[in-house]
């Protein structure tokens, strides 16, 4: 059984450590906020200029001046702070964000990531993604293992890059991989998923941690 989106988010939450400042991308990464261990102090960063993102508002709490980077209405917490976009990206580019979790269209065996543009389609822009992958201390990618049966974990990205050699870890619906000094390494399999099953759906070359079969 492959991992569900929720299970992927739950596994990603194991990366969190007390006191981390983290940035969550749109999609599955957003779900990670639901799995922060109780009692652990984690501060969510929103690149439009906020630290300490609170829950979505009730009808009465909706404030058009208070949104997240996905342009959704949010609320503040007792420890929240606001700042301008240059300060927000100083946090990202200056290496102050401990962990960025984001989605991807392709990741290469060298840790390159492509997640902003498909040639020939309407280009929306990279937003803050290039800053995040270049600046965060650690970059975790959550993505489906394949798209329309095409491998997304590839030897070399065919789509335009968001960043070069920047990814530290990948969690897909089938498996987990880490980028180690000796290269991309398979570190866990979803229940009932075999290594050969993963290999068939992966174009990238990878090593296998002992004890996985």
């Amino acid at each position: 059984m492959p991992w569900t989106r929720e299970q992927m988010a739950e596994r990603a939450a194991k990366e969190l450590q007390e006191g981390f400042y983290i940035n969550l991308g749109i999609g599955i990464p957003t779900l990670v906020a639901n799995y922060i261990p109780p009692g652990m102090r984690i501060v969510l960063h929103s690149e439009n200029g906020m630290l300490g993102i609170g829950p979505f508002p009730t009808e009465n709490e909706v404030d058009p001046d208070l949104i997240n980077a996905g342009k959704q209405t949010v609320t503040e917490l007792p420890y929240s702070s606001y700042f301008d976009s240059a300060t927000s990206f100083a946090m990202i580019r200056g290496g102050h964000i401990d962990l960025a979790i984001l989605g991807a269209m392709q990741v290469s065996q060298d840790g390159d990531i492509a997640n902003w543009m498909v040639p020939g389609k309407m280009i929306k822009g990279m937003g803050g993604a290039m800053d995040l992958v270049a600046g965060a201390k650690r970059v975790l990618v959550l993505m489906e293992h394949t798209a329309k049966n095409e491998a997304k974990l590839v030897k070399k990205c065919t789509l335009p890059l968001t960043g070069e050699k920047v990814v530290n870890k990948i969690i897909t619906d089938l498996a987990e991989f880490e980028f180690r000094d000796d290269g991309l390494t398979l570190t866990a399999l979803a229940p009932g998923v075999t290594e050969s099953g993963v290999r068939q759906r992966t174009e990238a070359h990878y090593r296998i941690t002992a004890g996985i079969s």
Binding site: N48, D65, L66, I67, N68, S85, I123, M130, G163
Partner: protein, 233 residues
């Protein structure tokens, strides 16, 4: 000479011309100078280059300036929310210079601060690298990015005083302080325009030196893009 004006049209009088470059504050539709945008639309000025993180939506924000093709070029990081924008872009009637969001913010800040350029790791090895100097510092590659200055900046704040000091509110701050810095002339619209002495100097987000003209908007629509509500148990 007073900095205060009665309306957007009043404040922008004599400042607009075809082909000029305008920086606009705002993130999505949050904290956008909606009155100035409406006045620029009414003026009919054309061939504009807009430096703004986003491009508004159909019928609101900078989307209004696309209805009659007033914008020639956007310098932005993300423009996905606008069908008319897509049509103009795909028809080759609108040029876009995509700039990573943090790079855009820093380019505006740098331009306003008299800094011609800076090196950043953002965009190394990507399309953002094209045509830029790449230089290595401490074993890492960096791109040279240029500061931006604009003929005009339009910004929105919560409160302002007659000296042009601005106070922002929550995430409506975003690009506004940076846009204010990079404009040769900066026009600010505020929800409350207060007399001198009615603003706490410690709370000022943009000092009045960056603001040349200021007016109080009569009604702010403050449209919400993604109204997301929590269910109360």
């Amino acid at each position: 000479m007073s900095k205060t004006y009665r309306s957007a049209g009043d404040a922008l009088a004599g400042l607009l011309r075809d082909g000029m470059t305008i920086a606009a504050g705002g993130f999505g539709l949050c904290g956008i100078p909606e009155h100035c945008i409406a006045a620029i639309q009414s003026s009919g000025v054309t061939g504009l280059t807009l430096v703004s993180n986003n491009a508004g939506v159909d019928g609101f924000g900078l989307g209004r300036l696309m209805e009659k093709g007033q914008i020639r070029k956007m310098v932005s990081s993300y423009v996905g929310e606008n069908k008319l924008f897509a049509e103009l872009f795909l028809a080759g009637k609108l040029e876009v210079e995509f700039t990573p969001q943090g790079t855009l913010a820093e380019r505006m800040r740098a331009g306003g601060a008299g800094i011609a350029g800076f090196y950043t790791r953002t965009g190394v090895g990507t399309l953002a690298e094209q045509g830029k100097e790449v230089r290595e510092f401490d074993g890492h590659k960096y791109l040279l990015e240029r500061g931006i200055t604009c003929d005009l900046a339009i910004v929105k704040a919560w409160k302002g005083d007659e000296e042009g000091n601005l106070i922002y509110r929550k995430t409506a701050r975003n690009f506004n302080p940076l846009a204010a810095m990079c404009g040769k002339i900066t026009v600010a619209e505020v929800e409350q325009l207060l007399p001198i002495g009615k603003i706490d100097p410690d709370a000022v987000g943009t000092p009045g030196i960056f603001v040349h003209r200021i007016f109080q908007g009569d009604h702010f629509e403050k449209r919400i893009e993604q109204r997301t509500i929590r269910k109360v148990a």
